[in-house]
Symmetry: C2
Subunit: 265 residues, 2 copies
Amino acid sequence: MASETPAKRQKSSKDVPYRLIYWPGFPGRGEHIRLALEEAGAEYVDTAHLEDGINDVLAYNSGEQPKDETNIPLFAPPILQHGDLVISQTPNILLYLGPRLGLVTDLENDPDGLYRINSLVLTALDGLSNEPHDCHHPIATGLYYEDQKEESKRKAEDYVKNRLPKFLGYFQRVLESKASGDGPWLYGGKLTYADLVLFQCLDGLMFMFPKATTKLEREGKYGKVFALHKAVAERPRIESYLESSRREKYSNGIYRYYEELDFEG
Amino acid sequence: MASETPAKRQKSSKDVPYRLIYWPGFPGRGEHIRLALEEAGAEYVDTAHLEDGINDVLAYNSGEQPKDETNIPLFAPPILQHGDLVISQTPNILLYLGPRLGLVTDLENDPDGLYRINSLVLTALDGLSNEPHDCHHPIATGLYYEDQKEESKRKAEDYVKNRLPKFLGYFQRVLESKASGDGPWLYGGKLTYADLVLFQCLDGLMFMFPKATTKLEREGKYGKVFALHKAVAERPRIESYLESSRREKYSNGIYRYYEELDFEG
């Protein structure tokens, strides 16, 4: 961790617990934030487990956020509060947390590492979170899945056949590259928050498309990607988190199971 | 600009021109990188204007990128080369360039500013670039618009009616907030790369949905967003860039004009 980064300089003034403002009832995008906090053993509060926590989410989500002279209005959860700072956007929150939680490479010697980690995260979220989300909402985010079932079927089938292998192939290439270093991780031979993001994306996809992901795993072409998923799940803190009640169950979030969309690819 | 950021520390070793690797023929996602470089008056090479420049794009796009021991494989253009560093993902490239080009606030006194600027960029790209892109590809990115015209019609109509006003409303709220400071800019009373991104998104949408954007502008509810567009277009370097041959014309990229999708909202 670079001792001169803005992140580090501010640490002393923000030695307070983190607060995650996110919907209850499904892992969703908030899960990427939780996994980083859990892996680091950080102290945090999660509105998903607070009575009335939903009120915070609803206020921010409707634009009726608290009067605030320094923070900009936020578009949607997940939201991270840390001291006076309130920020949103999953990859942005992770960019803030990564160096603070020790989930990056040695930025002192490799200052560009942060841009590589950030790029991996953005690509994973694009192809393995946003595109799966759109499989249930191809026509309109504001409409229910039930109102766009036929289009969902076509989109999910294309996703499983074309997009999912393309993105898994990309991450396999990254894991085979020199830059990934030794061991199961994406970059620099060290666990970073990009690994946690890829874990969660693949975990959700295994729930959403069990037939396709089982087939892809058996084929062996993306062995390193599936091995990364296993390696993250076996991290002691992650393992105990996944078994705890703090881990939300998959339901009506980004990754959903519909039998009619469970294509084999 | 914080003198201690990794960005600054590396500057001396990377005092070479920037190289943008991007498709020719339309502004696309590469345009956000061009606008930052142009506003800063930076020296750069753009493969869109090089003979054989397309070969670089195709190599990276197909995964056949050059052997490289330090950089990770990249998923897709836009790609920025700077010295030995090669990175991709639009918001990531901008995060790298912003502090180097002076297109951020004073990070020395406001180190959290970068997370606010990054958040604004991610939200603009989500709602005003990725969603418009999907209006022409609701079912599959790999299929032509012509193969999903009926679905495109439904998606574009929903976008114009529900999503576009929601995102413009968000940016209007940001521009009305204390945190935006004085003047036409989104954050801290100073032009940042977030303003350039919002400019380009709105500019593309004005081309794609002339009826809807004209109506929304006349309504006046999003006056500050349209005023920002005008203020960016009047920046001397941007104005001369937009008139130059370096500015690609809208055609078959993210922002396209189809009469049948030109809904009024």
